[in-house]
Protein backbone atom coordinates (compact mmCIF):
# COMPACT_ATOMS: atom_id res chain seq x y z
CA UNK A 1 0.00 0.00 0.00
CA UNK A 2 1.36 3.41 -0.96
CA UNK A 3 1.79 5.73 1.94
CA UNK A 4 1.58 9.47 1.43
CA UNK A 5 3.06 11.74 4.03
CA UNK A 6 1.58 15.21 4.27
CA UNK A 7 3.65 17.64 6.31
CA UNK A 8 1.15 19.70 8.26
CA UNK A 9 1.92 23.30 9.22
CA UNK A 10 0.62 22.77 12.74
CA UNK A 11 -0.96 20.22 15.01
CA UNK A 12 -4.26 22.08 14.65
CA UNK A 13 -4.32 21.50 10.89
CA UNK A 14 -3.16 17.92 11.38
CA UNK A 15 -6.16 17.18 13.59
CA UNK A 16 -8.51 19.10 11.32
CA UNK A 17 -7.33 17.01 8.37
CA UNK A 18 -7.45 13.78 10.35
CA UNK A 19 -11.03 14.38 11.52
CA UNK A 20 -12.15 15.39 8.06
CA UNK A 21 -10.73 12.25 6.46
CA UNK A 22 -11.93 9.93 9.21
CA UNK A 23 -15.43 11.37 8.88
CA UNK A 24 -15.25 10.06 5.32
CA UNK A 25 -13.97 6.67 6.47
CA UNK A 26 -10.50 7.34 5.07
CA UNK A 27 -7.73 5.87 7.14
CA UNK A 28 -4.96 8.22 8.22
CA UNK A 29 -2.84 8.92 11.26
CA UNK A 30 -0.93 11.78 12.79
CA UNK A 31 2.71 11.05 13.53
CA UNK A 32 5.46 13.16 14.97
CA UNK A 33 7.84 14.26 12.21
CA UNK A 34 11.08 12.30 12.20
CA UNK A 35 13.26 15.40 11.95
CA UNK A 36 12.51 18.77 13.40
CA UNK A 37 9.44 19.55 15.44
CA UNK A 38 6.20 19.07 13.60
CA UNK A 39 3.45 16.69 12.68
CA UNK A 40 2.77 14.68 9.55
CA UNK A 41 -0.42 13.09 8.38
CA UNK A 42 0.13 9.60 7.02
CA UNK A 43 -2.43 8.79 4.35
CA UNK A 44 -2.97 5.58 2.43
CA UNK A 45 -5.38 6.82 -0.20
CA UNK A 46 -4.55 9.42 -2.84
CA UNK A 47 -8.08 10.80 -3.04
CA UNK A 48 -7.56 11.98 0.52
CA UNK A 49 -5.19 14.63 -0.80
CA UNK A 50 -7.82 16.10 -3.10
CA UNK A 51 -10.22 16.21 -0.14
CA UNK A 52 -7.65 18.24 1.80
CA UNK A 53 -7.21 20.54 -1.22
CA UNK A 54 -10.95 21.04 -1.60
CA UNK A 55 -11.21 21.98 2.04
CA UNK A 56 -8.29 24.43 1.84
CA UNK A 57 -6.25 22.53 4.39
CA UNK A 58 -2.59 23.46 3.85
CA UNK A 59 0.08 20.72 3.70
CA UNK A 60 3.25 19.83 1.86
CA UNK A 61 3.50 16.41 0.29
CA UNK A 62 6.69 14.74 1.46
CA UNK A 63 6.32 11.45 -0.38
Amino acid sequence: MIEYIAEMPSYTYAVKAERLLKSRKIRCEIKRREEGCGYDLHIYNKTALSILDKNAIPYELKK
Binding site: S10, Y11, T12, G36, C37, Y39
Partner: protein
Protein backbone atom coordinates in the same frame (compact mmCIF):
# COMPACT_ATOMS: atom_id res chain seq x y z
CA UNK B 1 -24.72 34.58 53.44
CA UNK B 2 -22.86 35.58 50.28
CA UNK B 3 -24.83 36.55 47.17
CA UNK B 4 -22.79 37.30 44.08
CA UNK B 5 -24.09 40.01 41.79
CA UNK B 6 -20.67 40.74 40.28
CA UNK B 7 -20.86 38.27 37.43
CA UNK B 8 -19.83 40.84 34.83
CA UNK B 9 -16.34 40.60 36.33
CA UNK B 10 -16.29 36.80 36.56
CA UNK B 11 -19.21 34.43 36.79
CA UNK B 12 -19.42 32.80 40.19
CA UNK B 13 -20.28 30.10 40.98
CA UNK B 14 -19.25 27.95 38.03
CA UNK B 15 -21.41 25.10 36.79
CA UNK B 16 -20.63 21.73 38.34
CA UNK B 17 -19.82 20.35 34.87
CA UNK B 18 -17.14 23.05 34.45
CA UNK B 19 -15.57 22.25 37.81
CA UNK B 20 -15.56 18.55 36.95
CA UNK B 21 -14.01 19.22 33.54
CA UNK B 22 -11.10 21.06 35.15
CA UNK B 23 -10.45 18.23 37.58
CA UNK B 24 -10.66 15.72 34.76
CA UNK B 25 -8.28 17.77 32.58
CA UNK B 26 -5.73 17.89 35.38
CA UNK B 27 -6.03 14.12 35.77
CA UNK B 28 -5.65 13.34 32.06
CA UNK B 29 -3.79 16.05 30.18
CA UNK B 30 -0.32 17.54 29.84
CA UNK B 31 0.95 19.83 27.07
CA UNK B 32 -0.87 20.37 23.81
CA UNK B 33 0.87 20.35 20.41
CA UNK B 34 4.17 19.20 21.86
CA UNK B 35 5.59 15.72 21.46
CA UNK B 36 4.06 12.61 20.00
CA UNK B 37 3.51 10.44 23.07
CA UNK B 38 0.14 9.33 24.38
CA UNK B 39 -0.40 12.16 26.88
CA UNK B 40 0.60 14.82 24.34
CA UNK B 41 -1.64 13.32 21.66
CA UNK B 42 -4.65 13.06 23.97
CA UNK B 43 -4.12 16.64 25.14
CA UNK B 44 -3.78 17.99 21.60
CA UNK B 45 -6.95 16.20 20.53
CA UNK B 46 -8.81 17.61 23.53
CA UNK B 47 -7.64 21.15 22.81
CA UNK B 48 -8.70 20.78 19.18
CA UNK B 49 -12.12 19.59 20.31
CA UNK B 50 -12.38 22.72 22.45
CA UNK B 51 -11.48 24.80 19.39
CA UNK B 52 -14.20 23.05 17.42
CA UNK B 53 -16.74 23.74 20.15
CA UNK B 54 -15.87 27.44 20.29
CA UNK B 55 -15.70 27.68 16.49
CA UNK B 56 -19.12 26.14 16.13
CA UNK B 57 -20.54 28.39 18.86
CA UNK B 58 -19.33 31.57 17.16
CA UNK B 59 -19.50 30.45 13.52
CA UNK B 60 -15.79 30.27 12.79
CA UNK B 61 -13.21 27.76 11.58
CA UNK B 62 -11.42 25.85 14.39
CA UNK B 63 -7.99 27.08 13.29
CA UNK B 64 -9.23 30.67 13.61
CA UNK B 65 -9.94 30.22 17.31
CA UNK B 66 -6.98 31.47 19.35
CA UNK B 67 -6.86 30.77 23.07
CA UNK B 68 -5.58 33.68 25.14
CA UNK B 69 -5.04 34.50 28.79
CA UNK B 70 -8.11 36.71 29.01
CA UNK B 71 -10.04 39.24 26.93
CA UNK B 72 -7.43 41.95 27.52
CA UNK B 73 -4.76 39.71 26.02
CA UNK B 74 -6.99 39.01 23.01
CA UNK B 75 -7.74 42.72 22.49
CA UNK B 76 -4.09 43.75 22.81
CA UNK B 77 -3.15 41.08 20.28
CA UNK B 78 -5.81 42.27 17.85
CA UNK B 79 -5.24 46.01 18.27
CA UNK B 80 -1.44 45.97 18.26
CA UNK B 81 -1.37 43.39 15.47
CA UNK B 82 -3.77 45.15 13.11
CA UNK B 83 -2.31 48.60 13.83
CA UNK B 84 1.32 47.44 13.66
CA UNK B 85 2.12 49.57 10.64
CA UNK B 86 0.24 52.63 11.85
CA UNK B 87 -2.87 54.33 10.55
CA UNK B 88 -6.04 55.67 12.08
CA UNK B 89 -8.18 53.79 14.56
CA UNK B 90 -11.60 54.53 16.00
CA UNK B 91 -12.78 53.21 19.33
CA UNK B 92 -16.12 53.76 20.99
CA UNK B 93 -16.54 56.02 24.00
CA UNK B 94 -17.78 53.03 25.99
CA UNK B 95 -14.58 51.01 25.78
CA UNK B 96 -13.02 49.18 28.68
CA UNK B 97 -9.39 50.02 29.44
CA UNK B 98 -8.44 46.77 27.71
CA UNK B 99 -9.15 48.67 24.50
CA UNK B 100 -8.67 52.28 25.58
CA UNK B 101 -5.24 51.83 27.15
CA UNK B 102 -3.49 49.95 24.34
CA UNK B 103 -5.08 52.39 21.86
CA UNK B 104 -3.98 55.40 23.92
CA UNK B 105 -0.48 53.93 24.33
CA UNK B 106 -0.09 53.49 20.57
CA UNK B 107 -1.35 57.04 20.02
CA UNK B 108 0.94 58.58 22.64
CA UNK B 109 3.88 56.79 21.03
CA UNK B 110 2.77 58.44 17.75
CA UNK B 111 2.37 55.03 16.14
CA UNK B 112 -1.30 55.59 15.28
CA UNK B 113 -3.87 58.35 15.30
CA UNK B 114 -6.89 57.71 17.46
CA UNK B 115 -10.49 58.93 17.48
CA UNK B 116 -13.16 58.21 20.06
CA UNK B 117 -16.76 57.90 18.92
CA UNK B 118 -19.41 59.36 21.21
CA UNK B 119 -22.08 56.82 22.17
CA UNK B 120 -25.73 57.75 22.55
CA UNK B 121 -28.76 55.79 23.72
CA UNK B 122 -30.11 56.13 20.17
CA UNK B 123 -28.36 53.80 17.74
CA UNK B 124 -28.65 56.13 14.75
CA UNK B 125 -26.79 58.90 16.59
CA UNK B 126 -24.08 56.44 17.59
CA UNK B 127 -23.71 55.23 14.01
CA UNK B 128 -23.40 58.83 12.82
CA UNK B 129 -20.57 59.29 15.34
CA UNK B 130 -18.64 56.46 13.77
CA UNK B 131 -19.41 57.52 10.19
CA UNK B 132 -18.21 61.07 10.86
CA UNK B 133 -14.86 59.89 12.20
CA UNK B 134 -13.91 57.57 9.35
CA UNK B 135 -10.95 58.77 7.28
CA UNK B 136 -9.20 57.45 4.22
CA UNK B 137 -6.47 55.97 6.45
CA UNK B 138 -8.83 54.38 9.01
CA UNK B 139 -7.62 50.83 9.48
CA UNK B 140 -9.68 49.54 12.35
CA UNK B 141 -12.76 50.20 14.44
CA UNK B 142 -12.87 48.69 17.91
CA UNK B 143 -16.22 48.56 19.62
CA UNK B 144 -17.63 46.77 22.59
CA UNK B 145 -20.80 44.82 21.87
CA UNK B 146 -22.16 45.71 25.29
CA UNK B 147 -20.85 48.22 27.81
CA UNK B 148 -19.41 46.68 30.96
CA UNK B 149 -20.65 49.71 32.92
CA UNK B 150 -24.26 50.15 31.85
CA UNK B 151 -24.83 47.01 29.80
CA UNK B 152 -25.93 49.09 26.80
CA UNK B 153 -25.84 47.04 23.62
CA UNK B 154 -24.16 49.00 20.88
CA UNK B 155 -25.30 48.70 17.24
CA UNK B 156 -22.35 46.46 16.48
CA UNK B 157 -23.79 44.79 13.41
CA UNK B 158 -24.47 48.14 11.76
CA UNK B 159 -20.98 49.37 12.72
CA UNK B 160 -19.59 46.15 11.23
CA UNK B 161 -21.45 46.88 8.00
CA UNK B 162 -20.03 50.40 7.86
CA UNK B 163 -16.56 48.88 8.26
CA UNK B 164 -17.15 46.15 5.69
CA UNK B 165 -18.25 48.64 3.06
CA UNK B 166 -15.04 50.63 3.57
CA UNK B 167 -12.59 47.73 4.02
CA UNK B 168 -11.94 48.61 7.64
CA UNK B 169 -11.16 45.86 10.14
CA UNK B 170 -13.93 45.57 12.73
CA UNK B 171 -12.75 44.31 16.12
CA UNK B 172 -15.53 43.52 18.59
CA UNK B 173 -15.11 43.22 22.35
CA UNK B 174 -17.60 40.54 23.35
CA UNK B 175 -16.64 40.29 27.03
CA UNK B 176 -20.11 41.25 28.31
CA UNK B 177 -22.09 39.79 25.43
CA UNK B 178 -20.78 36.30 24.67
CA UNK B 179 -22.91 33.65 26.31
CA UNK B 180 -25.66 36.23 26.88
CA UNK B 181 -26.58 37.14 23.31
CA UNK B 182 -25.97 35.05 20.23
CA UNK B 183 -22.79 36.40 18.68
CA UNK B 184 -21.69 35.06 15.30
CA UNK B 185 -18.78 36.03 13.08
CA UNK B 186 -21.29 36.21 10.21
CA UNK B 187 -22.68 39.36 11.84
CA UNK B 188 -19.77 41.18 10.18
CA UNK B 189 -17.16 40.77 12.89
CA UNK B 190 -13.60 40.39 11.60
CA UNK B 191 -12.03 39.78 14.99
CA UNK B 192 -13.99 38.85 18.11
CA UNK B 193 -12.27 39.10 21.48
CA UNK B 194 -13.86 37.75 24.60
CA UNK B 195 -13.24 36.36 28.06
CA UNK B 196 -13.63 32.70 28.88
CA UNK B 197 -14.44 33.32 32.55
CA UNK B 198 -17.48 35.58 32.26
CA UNK B 199 -20.57 34.63 30.28
CA UNK B 200 -18.88 31.51 28.91
CA UNK B 201 -18.54 30.11 32.47
CA UNK B 202 -14.92 28.96 32.11
CA UNK B 203 -12.31 29.55 34.78
CA UNK B 204 -10.15 32.66 35.19
CA UNK B 205 -7.07 32.87 32.99
CA UNK B 206 -8.99 32.16 29.80
CA UNK B 207 -9.88 34.25 26.78
CA UNK B 208 -10.55 33.89 23.08
CA UNK B 209 -9.55 35.71 19.94
CA UNK B 210 -11.60 34.56 16.98
CA UNK B 211 -10.97 35.82 13.48
CA UNK B 212 -12.74 35.42 10.17
CA UNK B 213 -9.27 35.24 8.60
CA UNK B 214 -9.68 38.36 6.45
CA UNK B 215 -7.01 40.40 8.23
CA UNK B 216 -3.61 38.98 9.11
CA UNK B 217 -2.73 39.50 12.76
CA UNK B 218 1.01 39.71 13.53
CA UNK B 219 1.85 38.16 16.90
CA UNK B 220 2.11 40.17 20.10
CA UNK B 221 4.82 37.80 21.26
CA UNK B 222 6.98 35.08 19.77
CA UNK B 223 8.07 31.76 21.20
CA UNK B 224 7.54 28.03 21.19
CA UNK B 225 4.63 26.77 19.13
CA UNK B 226 5.45 23.07 18.98
CA UNK B 227 6.26 23.06 15.28
CA UNK B 228 9.00 24.33 12.92
CA UNK B 229 11.20 24.66 15.98
CA UNK B 230 14.41 24.67 13.93
CA UNK B 231 13.43 28.05 12.49
CA UNK B 232 13.93 31.31 14.37
CA UNK B 233 10.96 32.76 12.52
CA UNK B 234 7.55 32.61 14.17
CA UNK B 235 5.23 30.31 12.15
CA UNK B 236 2.53 32.17 10.23
CA UNK B 237 -0.32 29.72 10.54
CA UNK B 238 -3.14 30.33 12.96
CA UNK B 239 -3.78 29.58 15.73
CA UNK B 240 -0.24 28.66 16.76
CA UNK B 241 1.22 31.91 15.39
CA UNK B 242 -0.66 33.73 18.18
CA UNK B 243 -0.33 31.02 20.83
CA UNK B 244 3.33 31.01 21.83
CA UNK B 245 4.08 29.11 25.00
CA UNK B 246 2.30 26.32 26.79
CA UNK B 247 -1.46 26.63 26.69
CA UNK B 248 -3.73 26.75 29.72
CA UNK B 249 -5.16 23.32 28.91
CA UNK B 250 -7.38 22.97 31.98
CA UNK B 251 -8.70 26.48 31.38
CA UNK B 252 -9.42 25.76 27.72
CA UNK B 253 -11.29 22.59 28.64
CA UNK B 254 -13.28 24.62 31.18
CA UNK B 255 -14.32 27.08 28.45
CA UNK B 256 -15.43 24.19 26.26
CA UNK B 257 -17.45 22.80 29.15
CA UNK B 258 -18.90 26.26 29.82
CA UNK B 259 -20.01 26.63 26.21
CA UNK B 260 -21.64 23.20 26.35
CA UNK B 261 -23.41 24.26 29.56
CA UNK B 262 -24.75 27.36 27.78
CA UNK B 263 -25.86 25.30 24.79
CA UNK B 264 -27.71 22.84 26.99
CA UNK B 265 -29.68 25.66 28.60
CA UNK B 266 -29.94 27.92 25.56
CA UNK B 267 -28.63 31.47 25.23
CA UNK B 268 -32.11 32.98 24.97
CA UNK B 269 -33.14 31.27 28.22
CA UNK B 270 -30.04 32.56 29.97
CA UNK B 271 -30.72 36.07 28.72
CA UNK B 272 -34.40 35.88 29.72
CA UNK B 273 -33.56 34.66 33.21
CA UNK B 274 -30.96 37.35 33.89
CA UNK B 275 -32.99 40.07 32.17
CA UNK B 276 -36.04 39.24 34.28
CA UNK B 277 -33.93 39.60 37.43
CA UNK B 278 -32.59 42.95 36.22
CA UNK B 279 -36.07 44.24 35.38
CA UNK B 280 -37.37 43.25 38.79
CA UNK B 281 -34.36 44.83 40.47
CA UNK B 282 -34.88 48.03 38.47
CA UNK B 283 -38.58 48.15 39.30
CA UNK B 284 -37.73 47.84 43.00
CA UNK B 285 -35.05 50.53 42.78
CA UNK B 286 -37.44 52.88 40.96
CA UNK B 287 -39.63 52.95 44.08
CA UNK B 288 -36.75 54.75 45.74
CA UNK B 289 -36.33 58.42 44.83
CA UNK B 290 -32.78 58.42 46.20
CA UNK B 291 -31.51 56.16 43.44
CA UNK B 292 -30.12 57.21 40.08
CA UNK B 293 -30.30 54.50 37.42
CA UNK B 294 -28.11 54.63 34.32
CA UNK B 295 -30.54 53.27 31.77
CA UNK B 296 -32.38 54.91 28.90
CA UNK B 297 -35.62 53.71 27.31
CA UNK B 298 -34.02 54.39 23.92
CA UNK B 299 -31.32 51.74 24.38
CA UNK B 300 -31.18 47.97 24.78
CA UNK B 301 -29.16 46.30 27.50
CA UNK B 302 -27.50 43.05 28.47
CA UNK B 303 -28.29 42.03 32.07
CA UNK B 304 -26.21 44.69 33.82
CA UNK B 305 -27.61 47.54 35.92
CA UNK B 306 -25.56 50.53 37.02
CA UNK B 307 -26.90 52.81 39.74
CA UNK B 308 -25.93 55.20 42.48
CA UNK B 309 -27.44 56.05 45.83
CA UNK B 310 -27.72 59.82 45.62
CA UNK B 311 -25.22 61.58 47.82
CA UNK B 312 -23.19 58.43 48.50
CA UNK B 313 -19.96 57.40 46.81
CA UNK B 314 -20.33 54.17 44.88
CA UNK B 315 -17.45 52.50 46.73
CA UNK B 316 -19.04 53.37 50.07
CA UNK B 317 -22.38 51.93 48.95
CA UNK B 318 -20.77 48.71 47.75
CA UNK B 319 -18.81 48.43 50.98
CA UNK B 320 -22.01 48.68 53.04
CA UNK B 321 -23.74 46.12 50.83
CA UNK B 322 -20.75 43.78 51.06
CA UNK B 323 -21.09 43.87 54.85
CA UNK B 324 -24.61 42.53 54.33
CA UNK B 325 -23.31 39.76 52.08
CA UNK B 326 -23.99 41.26 48.64
CA UNK B 327 -21.13 41.28 46.15
CA UNK B 328 -21.37 44.19 43.71
CA UNK B 329 -18.71 46.10 41.85
CA UNK B 330 -18.28 49.83 42.45
CA UNK B 331 -16.05 52.54 41.04
CA UNK B 332 -15.05 52.96 37.42
CA UNK B 333 -15.09 49.31 36.34
CA UNK B 334 -11.81 49.90 34.42
CA UNK B 335 -13.82 52.04 32.00
CA UNK B 336 -12.87 55.68 32.41
CA UNK B 337 -14.20 56.55 28.95
CA UNK B 338 -17.66 55.20 29.73
CA UNK B 339 -17.89 57.06 33.03
CA UNK B 340 -16.73 60.22 31.32
CA UNK B 341 -19.59 59.86 28.82
CA UNK B 342 -22.07 59.12 31.62
CA UNK B 343 -20.81 61.99 33.76
CA UNK B 344 -20.41 59.68 36.75
CA UNK B 345 -17.43 61.34 38.42
CA UNK B 346 -17.22 58.91 41.33
CA UNK B 347 -18.29 55.84 39.40
CA UNK B 348 -21.38 53.68 39.83
CA UNK B 349 -22.47 50.54 41.61
CA UNK B 350 -22.89 47.68 39.15
CA UNK B 351 -25.35 44.82 39.53
CA UNK B 352 -24.81 41.83 37.25
CA UNK B 353 -26.60 38.49 37.74
CA UNK B 354 -25.80 35.10 36.23
CA UNK B 355 -27.87 32.03 35.40
CA UNK B 356 -27.46 30.99 39.05
CA UNK B 357 -28.89 34.24 40.46
CA UNK B 358 -32.30 34.38 42.10
CA UNK B 359 -34.94 37.06 41.64
CA UNK B 360 -35.76 36.90 45.36
CA UNK B 361 -32.15 37.82 46.19
CA UNK B 362 -32.35 40.85 43.91
CA UNK B 363 -35.50 42.01 45.76
CA UNK B 364 -33.80 41.58 49.13
CA UNK B 365 -30.81 43.50 47.80
CA UNK B 366 -33.11 46.31 46.63
CA UNK B 367 -34.61 46.39 50.14
CA UNK B 368 -31.13 46.63 51.62
CA UNK B 369 -30.32 49.48 49.24
CA UNK B 370 -33.53 51.21 50.34
CA UNK B 371 -32.51 50.93 54.01
CA UNK B 372 -29.01 52.14 53.20
CA UNK B 373 -30.32 55.17 51.32
CA UNK B 374 -32.63 56.08 54.21
CA UNK B 375 -29.96 55.64 56.90
CA UNK B 376 -27.59 57.80 54.93
CA UNK B 377 -30.16 60.58 54.98
Amino acid sequence: MIVNFDNAATTFPKPRSVKNSVYSALEKYGSSGRGGHAIAAATSQAVYSARETAADFFGAEPENVVFTLNCTHALNTAIKGIMKNGGHMIISGMEHNSVARPAAALASEKKISLSIAQIYPEDEKTLESFRNLIRSDTKAVVCTIASNVTGQILPYQEIAEICRSRNICFIADGAQACGIIDIKMSQGINILCTAGHKGLYGITGTGLLITDGKYKIPPLMQGGTGNSSQSLVQPEFLPESLESGTLNVAGIISVQSGIEFIRNIGISKIFSHEDRICRRFISELRKNKNITLYRSPAAEYVPIVSFNINGMKSEKAAEHLAEKGYCLRAGYHCSALAHSQLGTDSGTVRFSPSIFSKESDSVQLANEIYRLSKNKL
